[in-house]
């Protein structure tokens, strides 16, 4: 088959997924003969939540050639060193899952094994005290990572917390300046090609039709093309992750701008708090079997750390993923591809993965099954591995104080996750993988943070004498403390870096 290039792409939807896709593709395919159109409906709008990210987004922005300061100013962004999880292992517990390691490996063996040994010998310092990003976050401080790997400042990674609507607008300007055509209007009909079943065109309310060789479905939960037109099917994961609703509300900016997101476990779900420069994002993700919408809203409002700025907004979802992400000539990216609750801020990352893999496997007019299969294989793996990691938070716990926690206590886990937990509990072994967003350090953070302490450490640890181990651990702890002393406060750092927007949000209406 001679290659016949794709000449037109239609992106359906202008939420975060749509504009990220438009920006990514227009950058990648600039100078090539490909027309990109994006259709969005102001009447329908976007979900308008999704504010916390993972470090990988820096790579996305870098590839687009976006300046960090411009981007932060435009999106009211703050730096994010990790997520603080409160009340997860037990009520009253708290730990930070940082973007970065706990200590450095010794003789090729991860530091936490040595820490486990220290604990068995009456060490009382938390694993946290050996992690620079955790202590930095606890002190509301920030600094960019050092490139010198001998410095403790090199041991952190970071992401952002930003206003996703503003990010969408920022990327819209970017994409439009690279010749992406924006069409406003509501799609009412999808026309399929009678021969091959491909989507041929979409028709707007005003009667106009838009044809394209390739469609990217970024239409949100409804999956306008992938589901409503092509019936890809949905794999329902709610037996494992039963939360199915959320309520979101913005509140005033926090005075001590924390460089981290907070996720607090509740009786029927969990609540987030995301500090931005101009305001704070808050929300309650819950399962409707265990709490009413009104009670959830009341609970959320009663726990805000600052005065509310908006009225609560209600959201509905079902955890799971599309059975095929890419079907015929339609690739689903964003909420149309699947939904996993935002406990570890993975949605925007999964959008990014979807774009990256699509670029790698970008089809030509033949739309080969092999390309689709490979795309679907890669994305399924991504979603499944995130699912297991999220579920870990609910099952690595002593909590049984409500019907929801009892539900998790009685759950039969997916084999893949059960094996991971067993390997950890027995000997601190992480069953690591190469393809998937959460590296071993993340698994360690959550399991130790939620009180799953391995019964044994790696026997090779005993090669190092106890005295030397104690000395090394103490010097590491000292380096962390000194590094944090040297660092600047988060809000001052944003100012000094030239990334402050200088505007605060006010109560609307």
């Amino acid at each position: 088959m001679t290659p016949t290039p794709i000449k037109s792409i239609c992106i359906v939807g202008g939420g975060t997924a749509g504009w990220m896709t438009a920006a990514g593709l227009s950058n990648k395919f600039s100078d090539l003969d490909i027309d990109i159109t994006l259709i969005e409906s102001e009447q329908i709008g976007t979900v308008g939540v999704g504010e916390a990210t993972l470090p990988h987004i820096r790579f996305f922005n870098n590839t687009l050639g976006i300046s960090e300061q411009d981007f932060m100013k435009a999106t009211q962004a703050t730096f994010k060193l990790g997520i603080e999880f409160c009340d997860w292992g037990n009520i009253g517990d708290a730990y930070i899952h940082p973007f970065g390691d706990f200590g450095m490996p010794i003789n090729g063996i991860e530091f936490y094994h040595f820490w486990t040994k220290l604990c068995q010998n009456s060490n009382t310092h938390r694993l946290d005290s050996y992690s620079y990003p955790v202590i930095l976050a606890q002190n509301n401080k920030f600094g960019h990572p050092s490139e010198d790997i001998r410095q403790i400042e090199s041991t952190l990674g970071y992401a952002y917390q930003f206003d996703s609507s503003l990010y969408g607008r920022f990327l819209r300007d970017y994409a439009q300046s690279r010749n992406v055509i924006r069409k406003e209007g509501k799609i009412v009909t999808t026309h399929l090609n009678a021969q091959n079943g491909n989507v041929q065109s979409v028709q707007l309310e005003d009667g106009s039709r838009h044809t394209a060789d390739l469609f990217i479905d970024c239409s949100g939960f409804r999956g306008l093309l992938i589901e409503q037109a092509l019936r890809a099917g949905y794999e329902d994961w709610s037996p494992w992750l039963p939360c199915n609703r959320a309520i979101a509300v913005a509140s005033e900016r926090l005075t001590d701008l924390p460089p981290y997101t907070r996720a607090t476990a509740c009786k029927a779900g969990w609540q987030w708090r995301i500090p931005l420069q101009h305001r704070t994002g808050n929300g309650y993700v819950y399962c409707s079997d265990y709490i009413s919408d009104d009670a959830a809203a009341g609970d959320l409002l009663s726990k805000l750390n600052s005065a509310p700025l908006t009225d609560p907004k209600q959201l509905y979802f079902k955890t799971g993923r599309r059975k095929t992400f890419w079907s015929k000539n339609v690739v689903a990216i964003g909420l149309s591809a699947g939904f996993l609750e935002p406990l570890e801020s993975t949605s925007i990352h999964l959008i990014q993965e979807g774009i990256t893999e699509l670029i790698q496997l970008f089809p030509d007019m033949h739309m080969r099954t092999s390309d689709r299969d490979e795309y679907n294989r890669r994305m399924s793996l991504n979603y499944e591995r995130v699912r297991d990691f999220l579920l870990l938070h609910y099952v690595a716990t002593q909590r049984d104080d409500s019907p929801m926690w009892q539900y998790f206590q009685n759950m039969t886990l997916p084999d893949s996750l059960q094996a991971k937990i067993d390997a950890w509990k027995t000997r601190g072994h992480i069953m690591k993988y190469q393809f998937g967003v959460f590296l071993p350090a993340s698994w360690v953070a959550v399991m130790i943070g939620q009180n799953l302490i391995p019964a044994h450490y790696d026997p090779r640890v005993d090669m190092l004498s106890h005295d030397r181990l104690k000395a090394e651990a103490e010097s590491l702890r000292g380096a962390v403390r000194d590094g944090v002393d040297r660092a600047m406060r988060h809000d001052a750092y944003i100012q000094g870096y030239g990334a402050a927007s200088g505007t605060f949000a006010q109560r609307s209406g």
Binding site: P3, F29, D364, R368, S370, R377, H429, K432, Q434, P459
Partner: protein, 493 residues
């Protein structure tokens, strides 16, 4: 003695390594160097029956350097105390009925331009030979060698190397290291393996002694004496015959192994210090032809069944090396498999008599590693070859399997490298093999079109010229080795 194996949480303190061929020797050195002295290690040589060790082949991968160091065997030891030499890869000639020719070398990642992998740019210019752009390949072809300097801009720093070895002399360096670290090698044949409830309770030795341990490591080669006693199943795939011989050589040969395809199978030559080691491989039916290749000088020969154990860890016994799987030595897969077995075991040395968690994880990882290595080896044979030769017919009839089919389809169709979790052979290994096998991509990444063809041609020209010029300045393998030996011998000890 009240120490009961039945006590599930009893600590694991005694290991017995059974077998002293290459697998046993490397395993003994690595375990003793990495495990604390509180873990007692016994080591038993059950008698010389290691002819099948020739099926580890005569080259090692780049990972051997670090692996060996962790086992307290450093490169100077190998160079001075054995006939080991350097390997930049394997040169194939007359390979397969298609008569293919290339150097399968190891390389750090190739240049990526505008996030488009290197080979897409070649495909765009219809260049079907990647070799001019691979420093180790050009060096190997001209028999040159020098250590790649770390982190510099010279093309030499992109090369990776392993060793050309004789499994017998290579293994002795590891044995020496193990002994130096206090491991005692006992000699005795096995009288009986005492098994109860799927676990080895003890081994009765011909010398009248009884060997007990918490964990037994089966390094007895293809016969896998211990695993066999536990009822382990072996999935045999293809029978092969191999023969090897030595040939004295006063001048050290090339810095790569040479494999030449023949009617009966293949024959290889590897350059060692002071001699050459030759190997021929055929289907068992064509033994005579494979033997004849050595002009009556065969020193070692063996029949093996390529394949793998269902699960190499059964009860309290782990099979390492050939006891677990036998791969054809056309690539570095056999040594890679052995090294990975030992690394995997070190990460999973049981913490108590209940080894169920370790066993399950070990077997899972083994399964991935072996199937991935088999996949790489399988890719040296075009599928469905019609040929009268048994060897080539059987090799090309092996099923491809779902994962490999995906890899081949995506590469041949569009130059995309499909990669699975933690594969032993990296993207460069695969790319070089695809080019060697004349698998060309039907289309390339369109983003490559953003480069002016002329600029690209100029870039590639400069790159290959720089490699050619530099390669000519690098000393021949034997001169480099002489210098290195002299330098090492003069070292203050």
């Amino acid at each position: 003695m009240t120490r009961a194996m039945d006590q599930q949480d009893a600590p694991m303190t005694r290991i017995a390594i059974i077998g002293a061929g290459l697998a046993g020797q490397i395993c003994a050195a690595a375990l003793r160097a990495n495990l604390p002295s509180a873990i007692d290690i016994k080591w038993l040589d059950t008698g010389r029956d290691q002819d099948s060790d020739i099926f580890y082949g005569h080259t090692t991968p780049p990972e051997s350097y670090g692996f060996n160091l962790a086992a307290c065997v450093n490169e100077p030891d190998l160079v001075l105390n054995s006939d080991t030499s350097f390997s930049l890869g394997t040169q194939f000639t007359a390979w397969s009925p298609q008569n293919l020719e290339w150097v399968q070398c190891s390389h750090l990642p190739l240049p990526v331009m505008d996030s488009v992998p290197f080979h897409h740019h070649l495909a765009r210019l219809d260049i079907d030979n990647i070799e001019p752009f691979l420093m180790p390949s050009i060096m190997a072809r001209n028999g040159r060698f020098a250590h790649p300097p770390p982190n510099t801009d010279t093309p030499l720093s992109r090369a990776e190397y392993g060793y050309q070895i004789d499994p017998f002399t290579y293994g002795r360096v590891f044995q020496e290291a193990a002994t130096q670290h206090g491991l005692v090698l006992t000699n005795s044949a096995i009288e009986a393996v005492c098994v109860k409830d799927g676990h080895i309770r003890s081994i009765a030795l011909k010398n009248g002694e009884k060997l007990t341990a918490d964990l037994f490591i089966d390094c007895t080669g293809p016969k896998a004496s211990l695993l066999h006693a536990l009822g382990s199943a072996y999935q045999g795939k293809r029978a092969l015959f191999g023969a090897s011989s030595y040939q004295a050589q006063s001048v050290l040969g090339f810095s790569c192994r040479h494999i030449h395809g023949t009617d009966y199978g293949w024959v290889s030559e590897s350059a060692l210090q002071g001699r050459r080691i030759n190997m021929s491989v055929s289907a068992p039916e064509d033994k005579a032809a494979a033997r004849a290749a050595h002009n009556g000088a065969v020193t070692t020969e063996a029949d093996v069944m390529l394949g793998r154990r269902d699960a190499p860890w059964l009860g309290n016994c782990v099979g390492i090396g050939h006891a677990a799987a036998i791969l054809e030595p056309i690539s570095t897969a056999p040594i890679r498999a052995l090294q990975r077995d030992i690394e995997r075991l070190l990460r999973l040395i049981p913490v108590s008599a209940d080894m169920s968690v370790e066993r399950r994880e070990y077997n899972r990882l083994f399964d991935d590693d072996i199937s991935h290595m088999h996949m790489f080896n399988r890719s040296f044979f075009p599928p469905g070859e019609t040929t009268p030769s048994l060897y080539w017919k059987q090799a090309s009839e092996q099923p491809l399997g779902e994962k490999l089919t995906r890899k081949l389809t995506l590469f041949e169709d569009r130059g995309v490298l499909v990669t699975y979790d933690l594969e032993p052979f990296n993207e460069q290994d695969w790319t070089i093999l695809h080019f060697g096998m004349r698998r060309t991509a039907g289309r390339y990444d369109r983003v490559a079109d953003r480069y002016e063809k002329r600029d690209l041609e100029r870039y590639l020209n400069t790159m290959s010229q720089a490699i050619k010029t530099l390669a000519a300045k690098i000393p021949p393998h034997h001169i480099y080795m002489q210098g290195l030996r002299k330098h090492l011998s003069n070292r203050p000890s």
